[in-house]
Assembly symmetry: C2
Homo-oligomer: 390 residues x 2
């Protein structure tokens, strides 16, 4: 096991009506003016935004609104948010939505406390995040785990570059998780979320360069639970319990619990980034396409782990298959079948990607060298992964 | 899933040399005078205490020492610690040891900030813990999970009453976990720790009054990992990796991860308390005796869960047994066999308990009514559990 540091300082409140705590919690931080940040018109039309603003008012807080966050959140809106917060002297950011809204709020937070351009943090011009506005979240889409994580991923909508910043300071102060708010999530979006959560678990699972047995066993159990509950939601989208399980899975997947004693891999995420940046596909759908092909490309470098994955997560019985390769590939086949079952694409073709742009995508992915904290892949590997996923 | 609140504010540093951070971390809290609290003479003789005091001095901190904490930590020493800290104007408590030392430090912490007698907090005379001295820990015995938990259990050595207090405020600020410090732990103490950790997982697992699938799967995986690594340590006590896994298991078992969406049961802990209070047996050994008998007594009230436990934790194949009862009891048999394998007692007789005192023990256990947050047991149940464990 590698040495590690672990804590989960974000205060998670989970259950029906959790969002009602927003006003009182923000007040505890001594804040007085809130940015209510959200994405889709659904959050507004459903009455959620108005309801939450009611809790803020009841707690004696003022607020301004900024909606319109899109999936793969845009730098332009982040800049708009920074200007608005500085003008209105906002001192707390409340993100209501999924990972995109939360990531956008985190970026606004660090931008508000910085004299230069916020993109500096994303392109390495300024690495020192020393201050930020506090962020709280009301989660409506279980997927990214941004509600408990230290990271934000922003897309520069001038260059279509998608980049991440990770700093402890950016972790939300509190996150309010009410599974009821996810009952109306459309099947496709739910499935994309499940694929994203599963992928987060896999990015940790496939980063083990040293033994860490407890983390392996917990990871396998977590992945099985995600698969199980995504299927249950498919059968009945109104199943509160299954929605609750998936929502909680999304948070624990990014708490650091499953990266303990190892690091993170994140190659598949990097390989997916050009896809969602260029074609604006849903991140989870892109992962469902890319991750199986990534396994097909790299498994021979560490057969034992991929065999374990096929057996313990996908129930492949090795005694039924003629070779290690057959076991691993049967695991991959079952993973693709699962993604299809919950309504996701498993080929780049289905996503509308063009073969003629593979080189451009691979170059973009590997602009700074190989990707992947473990079993790193280079431009040629990535090209081949795109071809295998075609 | 029940509603819940979740966070792990304790900052855990895990790995070789973790204890070297003590001085710098304490300084970050603005403290200047430290109580170095420990138990066995081993911690002193091994040079650990001196080494840590060196880190404190290097960080410009002053300190006073209080050793002598015994298993089932005593109220008398807590009182002595409070007087010492008040006299010496101590503003940080550093516990170096296992759960007993950490529990003792937590009790000293709340006692130092209270005008009355510290026992008031334990016997319900004062329920409001509003202030405490900050506590940091250097763990040397993986077992209680007190290094990340909100609780302390203290034994009143005038009345031999063993009582608990749980408050968020009491959670350690940081915990330094170096598995190397556990390499020299004697087999019996290691086994007692493993039984305690396993029991903590079970107390959560057997508290599920509503579905919580993710927590179930993680719990089963966690229990299997504990069993696996306890066996590996038995084979080779110098196995750093297995020691590391067990140490981390002990912490996560008490972090709240496994009680999410349910509560805690704690009946077996309550049934064990009179044993360790009267006979001063190691807590883990008492649990190894009591917990199997508890299952034998209560399983019929919730067969599904105990069947699941036998299958998923102890690999009992139900198709091989004639009845549900046979499956559950085979699980219990395997659990007892595991405890014996790692060198623990599984009968009250072996612990030196007297049949003639069962009534006294049961009355003491149920002094405030039934015990167990789920499937509660009364005095007659407890009598029967002692008889079954005889």
């Amino acid at each position: 096991m590698r040495p590690f540091q672990f804590s989960v300082p974000t205060n998670v409140y989970f259950g029906k009506g959790a969002e009602e705590k927003a006003g009182d919690l923000i007040k505890e931080y001594g804040s007085s003016k809130v940015l209510v940040h959200y994405g889709s018109s659904f959050a507004k039309k459903s009455g959620l935004i108005d309801r939450v603003e009611g809790y803020l008012t009841a707690a004696g807080l003022e607020y301004v609104e900024l909606g319109g966050v899109k999936p793969n959140p845009r730098l332009s809106l982040v800049r708009e948010g920074i200007a608005l917060c500085q003008r209105e002297k906002v001192d707390f950011l409340l993100a209501i939505g999924g990972g995109s809204v939360i990531d956008s709020a985190k970026a606004i937070g660090i931008g508000c406390c910085y004299d230069g351009d916020v993109w500096d943090f994303f392109c390495g011009k300024n690495k020192n995040v020393t201050r930020t506005l506090p962020v709280g979240t009301i989660l409506t889409i279980p997927a990214a785990g941004s509600e408990v994580s230290v990271g934000t991923v922003i897309t520069n909508d001038e260059t279509w570059d998608k980049r991440a910043v990770n700093r402890g300071l950016m972790r939300p102060k509190f996150s309010l998780l009410n599974p009821e708010l996810t009952l109306s999530l459309p099947p496709y979006q739910t499935a994309c979320g499940a694929a994203d959560i599963l992928s987060h678990m896999m990015e940790h699972y496939f980063a083990a360069d040293m033994e860490s047995d407890v983390t392996d066993r917990l990871g396998e159990a977590g992945m099985r639970a995600i698969i199980h509950n995504a299927r249950r939601i498919c059968e009945n989208p109104q199943n509160y319990d299954a929605r609750a399980e998936l929502m909680w899975s999304g948070s624990i997947a990014m708490m650091g619990f499953f990266s303990v004693g190892r690091g993170g891999n994140w190659a598949s995420h990097e390989i997916e980034h050009p896809l969602s940046a260029i074609y604006d596909v849903a991140h989870g759908a892109g992962l469902a396409v890319v991750q199986p092909a990534w396994i097909e490309r790299v498994w021979k470098r560490e057969p034992k782990r991929f065999l374990q994955f096929a057996q313990k997560v996908w129930d492949v019985d090795p005694s039924m298959y003629p070779s290690e390769e057959a076991v691993v590939l049967e695991g991959v086949r079952r993973m693709r079948a699962f993604f299809q079952e919950i309504g996701l694409p498993t080929t780049l073709r289905e996503l509308g990607a063009e073969e003629s742009r593979f080189r451009e995508m691979a170059d973009r992915c590997c602009a700074n060298g190989t990707v992947g904290g473990h079993l790193p892949v280079d431009t040629e590997d990535v090209m081949e992964i795109y071809r295998m996923a075609w």
